[in-house]
């Protein structure tokens, strides 16, 4: 049992990653917008799981709070607000969808060939491996929240403050945009 759990734990990232991709595919291809949102939610939860396996615990919890708690609910509100059944017969996909899919597949093949080189080619470049390490005396793996806070509030304080201004602008802008026009 122990060895089984250990061997499963080794592949946790792959499981979560495939769940994320599956949720993303469900998001794109489902007819009903609510089903799309459920796929989006699954994808976000799986990405949070990926963060956990990469030992970014604080980021995983923030992902759960922001996406599963905030953004998905926001999307649900707007879907309920906007009636979409009227336009169901117009079709799900754009008329240029086949061309787009072909182009995206071509780009995907190009990038996959790069992956192919690093994985299978005989003269493959040495693949990067993930290594836990120290950040200014803090163990990123074991003291995640402390390390992130040190990065966020000391080293990268300016981007953080700029982000707060952006959030304020977004708040005011959303109120102005969604307000009903009254003279």
């Amino acid at each position: 049992m122990e060895s089984l759990l250990a061997s499963i734990g080794q592949y946790m990232f792959h499981i979560f990653g495939l769940m994320a991709v599956g949720g993303a595919l469900a998001l794109i291809f489902s007819k009903n917008a609510i089903h799309s949102i459920v796929g989006f939610l699954l994808s976000m939860l799986a990405v949070a799981g990926c963060y956990l396996t990469l030992s970014a615990e604080f980021l995983a919890v923030a992902q759960l709070l922001v996406y599963a708690g905030g953004i998905v609910v926001l999307f649900l509100f707007v879907v309920m607000l906007v009636e979409m059944t009227k336009y169901k017969e117009k079709g799900l996909f754009q008329t240029q969808a086949p061309v787009v899919v072909a182009v995206v597949l071509a780009g995907a093949v190009a990038i996959i060939s790069v992956f192919w080189r690093t994985w299978f080619a005989p003269d493959a470049a040495k693949a990067l491996t993930l290594s836990p390490g120290l950040a200014q005396g803090l163990d990123v793996a074991n003291q995640n929240a402390q390390a992130v806070s040190r990065g966020l509030f000391a080293q990268y304080l300016l981007p953080f403050e700029i982000l707060s201004v952006i959030l304020l602008v977004a708040l005011v802008g959303a109120v102005v945009l969604a307000k009903t026009e009254r003279v």
């Binding site: 990232f13 792959h14 994320a20 991709v21 998001l27 794109i28 917008a33 799309s36 994808s43 990405v47 990926c50 963060y51 604080f58 980021l59 922001v66 996406y67 999307f75 707007v78 879907v79 979409m84 009227k86 336009y87 079709g91 799900l92 996909f93 754009q94 008329t95 969808a97 787009v100 899919v101 995206v104 995907a108 990038i111 992956f115 693949a127 990067l128 491996t129 993930l130 290594s131 836990p132 390490g133 950040a135 803090l138 990123v140 995640n144 992130v148 040190r150 990065g151 966020l152 080293q155 990268y156 982000l163 952006i166 959030l167 977004a170 708040l171 802008g173 959303a174 969604a178 009903t180």
Partner: protein, 100 residues
């Protein structure tokens, strides 16, 4: 411990699914969700490289990107609601006010 290539590959798959969704769907809400998906793929890369380099910069910037994504989705949904009030539709191919 996943290999770097696995992380990058999953992130690449998420990103390409997001690109395809933005380009093929007609519904503005789905398009916004696909943009979120692409931002998440970028975040996954940032976290992976933070893990690789042993520093915390990637995780800090992933948090910043998360906040930016929240701001973006707020503005986007407000635009969708305003557009629905004005044009009575959220299908992108019917929103052609700028077309001469």
């Amino acid at each position: 411990m996943p290999s770097m290539n696995a992380v990058l590959f999953i992130s690449f798959l998420l990103f390409s699914v997001g690109v395809a969704g933005v380009l093929i769907r007609r519904n503005v809400l789905i398009i916004l969700m696909c943009v979120e998906l692409m931002l998440n793929a970028a975040n996954l890369n940032l976290v992976a490289f933070a893990r690789h380099s042993g520093t915390v910069a990637g995780q800090a910037f992933a948090l910043l990107v998360m906040g930016l994504a929240a701001a973006e989705v707020t503005i986007g949904l407000a635009l969708v609601v305003a557009l629905y009030r004005k044009k009575d539709t959220i299908q992108v191919d019917q929103i052609n006010l700028l077309k001469g």
